[in-house]
């Protein structure tokens, strides 16, 4: 049984709003979640779902209305736990009068590193995030993507056991995203625990051991990307070509043509019959593949269900 890096129990957060702050808006509702040591955990959800609220609660930037959380076995109120945590805020902004070297050195000092260690680590991190050439430039001259890279560097500078990244791919070009993906994979190889929130579902599918989907402040599911979308296939996809003037046959009528190729979807039980039909018609079969719901489709279904439920409540309320 692997040990737990992050344990969240019944965590809720209400924000007061309206006249004299008399109304309450539930931003997070009874969140129960666990992240195991050494895993990469993706936290998915649309804007306003509660992802950043959860991360800010873990980082004690905001305080819960109820519930508790522990990181590496210690309650989040214990400041010493932050010796082993790295955090990248969403759309990070740092002291713009500092250079990247000065900023990283400043943050490293809070971890009690010696001057030599700090110098070495800072140089190593700047190489890792590709900012060596801009290291002596003040951060006010940095682009959004460069700030994101500095943010990544400060999060892993002290070699923490747990790394929490709030939208780490945001603002990055494809190359930058690739570099962040590589850093996350490297952290995983080193046995670190990574919790990151993202909108980019392909990144979550590619990087995560497990994902949690949060919608409307409620956790809607946790599991491996495969488990989340279900293991049963939704059908089979056949890609084929027809040589010479195409003879008409039923499957061809259902197929979608792209250039010289045809694509058709059939039920799993119909697969062998369809293949026989194509063979009989002289078609060349290029590929047969399972059709699975992507994480993105699964995620969108949840969001739409949530919106439908919300509007149903609104209508019945009226």
């Amino acid at each position: 049984m692997p040990s737990l890096a992050i344990e969240i129990e019944n965590l809720s957060k209400e924000y007061p709003h309206g006249f004299l702050n008399l109304k309450k808006k539930m931003s997070l509702e009874n969140l129960n979640m666990q992240v195991e040591s050494g895993e990469v955990f993706g936290f998915l959800g649309p804007n306003g779902a509660g992802k950043s609220t959860t991360i800010k609660l873990l980082m004690r930037l905001i305080f819960p209305t109820s519930g508790t959380a522990r990181i590496l076995g210690k309650p989040i109120d214990d400041v010493s736990v932050h010796e082993d945590i790295g955090y990248l805020p969403e759309q990070p902004y740092f002291y713009d009068y500092l250079t990247a070297v000065e900023l990283l050195d400043y943050f490293a000092r809070f971890h009690g590193l010696t001057a030599n260690d700090r110098r070495e680590r800072v140089q190593k991190m700047l190489r890792k995030v590709g900012l060596e050439t801009a290291k002596k430039m003040q951060l006010r001259k940095y682009s959004k993507g460069m700030l994101q890279r500095v943010g990544m560097a400060q999060a892993i500078l002290h070699e923490p056991e747990v790394v929490v990244l709030d939208e780490p791919m945001s603002g990055l070009d494809p190359l930058g995203r690739r570099e962040v993906r590589d850093i996350i994979l490297e952290l995983k190889r080193e046995g670190k625990t990574v919790l990151f929130s993202t909108h980019i579902l392909s990144d979550a599918e590619m990087l995560c051991d497990r994902v949690g989907v949060i919608v409307g402040g409620k956790l809607r599911g946790v599991g491996t990307p495969g488990e989340m979308v279900g293991i049963q296939t939704q059908g089979m996809e056949i890609l084929f070509e027809v040589e010479g003037p195409a003879k008409r046959f039923p499957l061809l009528e259902r197929a979608t043509q792209t250039g010289e190729r045809y694509r058709v979807e059939v039920r799993e039980a119909e697969l062998y019959g369809a293949l026989d039909e194509l063979k009989g018609a002289g078609a060349r079969i290029l590929s047969v593949a399972q059709i699975k719901q992507t994480l993105e489709e699964f995620f969108m279904n949840l969001v739409e269900t949530d919106r439908a439920q919300a509007s149903a409540v609104e209508v019945s309320g009226k």
Binding site: F63, V79, S80, H82, E83, P92, F110
Partner: protein
């Protein structure tokens, strides 16, 4: 305390890089202008005019820095969200506050010391050589610095629970009320309700008594400042700052960031 010191040195660096010390150029110009003018219009009272003007300028410039930058110490970090990455490090919120306070007081100390040097240079140019009684000017400058430290603490307290605009108003209001704290204590209206008098007296003891810090009149006329008064005001500032900063830390320790 070590972590508060790390924050303090960075706060000082921020002030220097944000050109806070540029006010010294204004002070230098003012002192040069005063030196030229005093020579022409105030025969025999050069010392009084230069010292009064110099100390008033040190106090007003410092007051502006203490209120406006003091309020921004916490609120700017929250607005710009530079605080997020910092508070995720192993640093307690009170250490952050103490570091910010110490950093701005360091900035004010350097600024005030530079202005004091400018004031001495002006005095020397008008009536050299300097005499023993001119050392009292240094004591008056020291008391101004203590006053500014107290204002920074108040500005930080207010900025921990309200908007920057209101925090500036509250700090300014406390300063004005503090200047009249002694008058409030000794007020005796003809038809005043005894309860009101007692209440005003009570409030006057809670307000920071900024009259304690003002030695400009005495020093300008080359009168000395008793050492016991200097110790008393130093202790008063230390205790008052400790209480105000503790209050700020209590408010800030449970403050939700945006």
């Amino acid at each position: 305390m070590k972590k508060a010191w790390i924050v303090a040195t960075n706060t000082f660096r921020e002030a220097v890089r944000d050109r806070v010390l540029y006010n010294l150029v204004f002070f230098a110009l003012l002192m040069m202008g005063a030196a030229i003018l005093v020579g022409q219009i105030s025969i025999g009272i050069e010392q009084t005019v230069i010292v009064s003007l110099g100390l008033a300028a040190i106090s007003v410039i410092g007051l502006f820095i203490a209120v406006f930058i003091g309020v921004g110490l916490v609120s700017k970090e929250m607005d710009k969200r530079t605080l997020y990455a910092l508070l995720a490090k192993p640093v307690k919120r009170w250490e952050f506050l103490l570091g910010k306070f110490a950093g701005l007081v360091m900035t004010l100390a350097v600024n005030t010391a530079a202005m004091a040097l400018g004031l001495y240079a002006t005095l020397w140019s008008v009536k050299h050589p300097l005499v023993r009684s001119d050392a009292y000017v240094f004591v008056a400058v020291y008391l101004i610095l203590l006053k500014l430290a107290l204002i920074v603490a108040l500005a930080m307290l207010f900025s921990c629970f309200t908007t920057p605009f209101l925090a500036i108003l509250f700090t300014g209001g406390m300063y004005v009320a503090g200047v009249f704290a002694y008058d409030l204590r000794t007020i005796q209206g003809i038809n005043m309700n005894p309860l009101t008098v007692r209440m005003l007296r009570g409030i006057s003891y809670l307000l920071p008594n900024f009259q304690n810090f003002n030695m400009t009149g005495a020093v300008a006329h080359e009168r000395g400042v008793p050492a016991s008064l200097v110790w008393h005001v130093t202790l008063y500032t230390a205790v008052y700052c400790a209480v105000v900063l503790t209050g700020a830390a209590l408010v800030f320790s449970r403050r939700n960031l945006k």
